[in-house]
C-alpha cells in the first residue's frame, strides 16, 4: 500500500513541477496547490499506513493508529488553503494593474 501511495505522490510532484515551471501565473498557482496535496499525502504515508485501532488508550487493544500525521495534515491543509486564496487574489490584482499574467513580463527592476 505504501509503495502505491508513494508512486502516486511521485506523479503528483511531477505534475506540480511541470506546472510550476510554466510562465502563466494561474498554472503556477495550480502547480503549488497540487504540490501541497502531494506533500499532505506524503506525511500520511510517512506515519505508516498500518491497520490499527483508534488511538484511544485503554479503550481498544494495541496496535493503535498513529494520530499525529493526521493532526499535521490538518494544520498543513489549512495553511496551504489560506496561502492559495491569498495568492489567487494577488494574481488577479496584478493582472488588473499590470495587464499580463506572463511571468516573463513581470520584471520589477530596470536593470534585471
Amino acid at each position: 500500500m505504501e509503495t502505491l501511495i508513494i508512486m502516486l505522490i511521485g506523479i503528483l510532484v511531477a505534475v506540480a513541477t511541470y506546472l510550476i515551471l510554466s510562465r502563466n501565473i494561474i498554472r503556477i498557482i495550480l502547480g503549488t496547490a497540487v504540490f501541497s496535496h502531494a506533500v499532505h499525502l506524503l506525511i500520511l504515508t510517512m506515519g505508516g499506513l498500518k491497520q490499527g485501532n483508534v488511538p484511544l488508550l485503554k479503550e481498544a487493544d494495541a496496535p493503535y493508529a498513529d494520530a499525529l500525521p493526521q493532526a499535521l495534515i490538518l494544520t498543513a491543509i489549512v495553511i496551504s488553503f489560506a496561502v492559495t486564496a491569498f495568492i489567487l487574489v494577488l494574481a488577479y490584482r496584478t493582472y488588473q494593474d499590470v495587464g499580463t499574467e506572463d511571468l516573463d513580463e513581470l520584471r520589477g527592476a530596470k536593470n534585471e
Binding site: V39, L42, A91, L103, A109
Partner: protein, 495 residues
C-alpha cells in the same frame, strides 16, 4: 516551567489583534503599537535575565509531558535573538511614523508588523520542529501582506515571485519534516536530537540534513538559493526592507544553526563541509553583487547575502571560537543592517532616487547624516572597536583553529570588499558637487534621523561593550555546542 518565555511571542500577537479594530485612527495605531513593543521588549529583557541566572528555560504546553506536548524553549541564543528582533522592530516602527505614509498606516501596516514579530519570535523560541513550520507560516503570511501593501506596480510584480518561492520552500519544509518523522517518530526537537544520536551516522539522516539546508537556505538566502532575494527586497518601501533584511533572512540562518548543532552532528564530515563550501560561495556571490550595482538598495541587499555567508561559515567549523563569533556576528548584523537601511532610506528620501550617479554633495547640508553613515559603514566592515570586528575576529580565529586557512583569509579579504561597497555609497552620495534638489523639509529630516542615530549608537555600544556581552555569548555558545544542556532543560522532571 514558566510562562515568561511566551510573552515576547504573545504580547505582539495580542496588540496586533487589538489594532485590527480601529485601522483608520492613525494616531491611536502608532501609540498602541509603541506601547505593545515596549511591553514585549521589557518582557524579553526579563527573559534574558532569567535565562542568564537560571539557565535554559523550557515550557511544554497543555500539561502534556515532553515529548508529547508542544515545547517552547528559550536558551541564551534564542532569548538574545528575540530581544534584538523586538529592538529592531521598535526603531523601524518609530522611523515609519514619518516615512511610510498615512495610506499604508491606515491599511493594517502596524498589525502586519506585530503579527510578523509573533512569527519571528515564535520561530526563535519553539522547541518543536512542526511548530517551527507553523511559526514560519505566520511570519511569511505577514511578510506577504507587508511586501504588497501599497500596491505599487513594482511591488505587485516582485511580490508574486517572492510568494511563489516561499510557498514551494514551505512545501519542501513539510516534506522534510515528514521524512524526519518517519525516521525518528517524534517532532520534539530535544527528542529528535536524542533519537538521531542513537541512530548514529546513516544515509537517510544525511539526506534529511541536506534537505533542511535547502529549505532554510531558501529563506536565509545562501548560494545558490538566494536568487529571489535581491529583486523582492528592493520592491517594498524602506522600513519594510529594513525589517525583512534585518530579521527574515536571520530566521533562516537561526534555523540552520539550530538544526545543524542540535540534530545533525553525526556526519559532520559531509554536512558541515557542504555548509562551509556553500557559505564561502555565498560570500563570493554577495561580494560580486555588492560591487556591481549603482543602486544603494541593491548594494546593501547584497551585503545581507555576504553576512549570511560569514555567519554560516563560523557555525560550520563547530568549535568554540567560530560558534561564538557566529552568535556575535548574527546579532551585530541584525542591528547594523537595520541601521544601514534606515540611513540609506533618509538618503533616498532627500534625493528622491536610489541611483548613486544621480546624487552627490549631501555632506554640506546634512553633515550629521554623513558622519553617522560613515560610523555604521565602518561597523559593518568590522573596523575595531565597532560591532562587526569582534564577531569576525572570532569567526576567523575559529577558522584557523579548524585548519581552514584559506577560507579564513578569504573571509578577511571579503571585509575589504564590504568596506569598499559601502564607502562607494559614502563617496558618491556625500562628496562632490550638490546635485538635484533636496526633497524633504528640515523637520522631517530630524524626525527620520532620530531613530537612525539611536540605533547607530546601540550598534556602537554593542561593539565597544563587547566585553560585557561575552558571558551572554558564552552561554549561547555552550548550549549550541553541547546539546545535552538543551535536552536536559526540556526533559527536566520527566526522566
Amino acid at each position: 516551567m514558566i510562562n515568561l518565555l511566551l510573552f515576547p511571542v504573545l504580547i505582539p500577537f495580542l496588540f496586533a489583534a487589538v489594532l485590527l479594530l480601529f485601522p483608520k485612527k492613525v494616531k491611536a495605531q502608532r501609540i498602541v503599537t509603541m506601547i505593545g513593543l515596549l511591553f514585549a521588549l521589557a518582557s524579553s529583557f526579563v527573559l534574558l535575565y532569567k535565562v542568564k541566572v537560571d539557565g535554559v528555560q523550557a515550557l511544554t504546553l497543555g500539561s502534556w509531558a515532553p515529548p508529547f506536548g508542544i515545547t517552547m524553549v528559550s536558551d541564551m541564543f534564542s532569548a538574545m535573538l528575540v530581544t534584538s528582533s523586538l529592538l529592531i522592530a521598535f526603531f523601524v516602527v518609530w522611523y515609519s511614523f514619518s516615512s511610510i505614509g498615512e495610506a499604508r498606516e491606515k491599511a493594517f501596516y502596524y498589525p502586519a508588523i506585530l503579527f510578523m514579530l509573533t512569527g519571528v519570535n515564535g520561530a526563535f523560541t519553539t522547541g518543536d520542529i512542526f511548530n517551527m513550520f507553523v511559526f514560519f507560516e505566520v511570519l511569511l503570511m505577514s511578510s506577504y501582506v507587508l511586501i504588497v501593501l501599497g500596491g505599487e506596480k513594482v511591488q505587485l510584480k516582485e511580490s508574486i515571485k517572492y510568494i511563489i518561492v516561499n510557498i514551494v520552500s514551505s512545501s519542501l519544509f513539510v516534506i522534510t519534516v515528514g521524512y524526519l518523522y518517519s525516521v525518528v517518530g517524534t517532532l520534539n526537537m530535544a527528542d529528535i536530537s536524542v533519537k538521531l544520536a542513537e541512530i548514529g551516522p546513516s544515509g537517510i539522516v544525511t539526506v534529511i540534513a541536506v534537505l533542511f539546508l535547502i529549505v532554510f537556505g531558501i529563506k536565509g538566502g545562501i548560494f545558490p538559493l538566494f536568487f529571489w532575494l535581491p529583486g523582492s527586497y528592493a520592491a517594498p518601501p524602506i522600513p519594510v526592507i529594513a525589517l525583512f533584511g534585518a530579521l527574515l533572512t536571520k530566521v533562516g540562518v537561526y534555523a540552520i544553526m539550530r538544526t545543524y548543532t542540535l540534530f545533525f552532528t553525526t556526519d559532520v564530515g559531509y554536512t558541515h563541509t557542504l555548509l562551509m563550501i556553500l557559505s564561502i560561495l555565498t560570500i563570493v556571490v554577495g561580494c560580486i553583487g555588492a560591487l556591481a550595482y549603482f543602486d544603494v538598495k541593491q548594494i546593501i541587499i547584497y551585503n545581507i547575502v555576504i553576512a549570511v555567508g560569514v555567519i554560516l561559515f563560523g557555525a560550520s567549523v563547530m568549535n568554540e571560537s567560530g560558534m561564538m563569533g557566529s552568535v556575535f556576528y548574527l546579532i551585530h548584523d541584525i542591528l547594523i543592517k537595520g541601521a544601514l537601511f534606515l540611513l540609506i532610506g533618509i538618503i533616498i528620501k532627500i534625493t528622491g532616487t536610489s541611483d548613486l550617479r544621480k546624487m552627490g554633495g549631501l555632506m554640506k547640508r546634512y553633515p550629521m547624516l554623513g558622519w553617522v553613515y560613515l560610523v555604521v559603514a565602518f561597523g559593518l566592515a568590522g573596523i575595531p572597536p565597532l560591532s562587526g570586528f569582534i564577531g569576525k575576529l572570532l569567526i576567523v580565529q575559529g577558522g584557523f583553529e579548524g585548519d581552514l586557512l584559506w577560507q579564513s583569509i578569504f573571509i578577511l579579504a571579503s571585509s575589504l570588499i564590504v568596506l569598499l561597497s559601502v564607502i562607494r555609497i559614502f563617496i558618491y552620495a556625500f562628496w562632490g558637487e550638490e546635485k538635484g534638489e533636496h526633497l524633504i523639509s528640515d523637520k522631517k529630516y530630524r524626525h527620520l534621523l532620530a531613530p537612525a542615530i539611536t540605533l547607530a549608537t546601540i550598534t556602537v555600544l554593542y561593539g565597544v561593550g563587547a566585553e560585557y556581552l561575552v558571558p551572554f555569548m558564552g552561554d549561547a555558545t555552550n548550549v549550541l555546542l553541547d546539546p545535552s544542556l538543551y535536552i536536559d532543560a526540556v526533559f527536566e522532571g520527566v526522566k
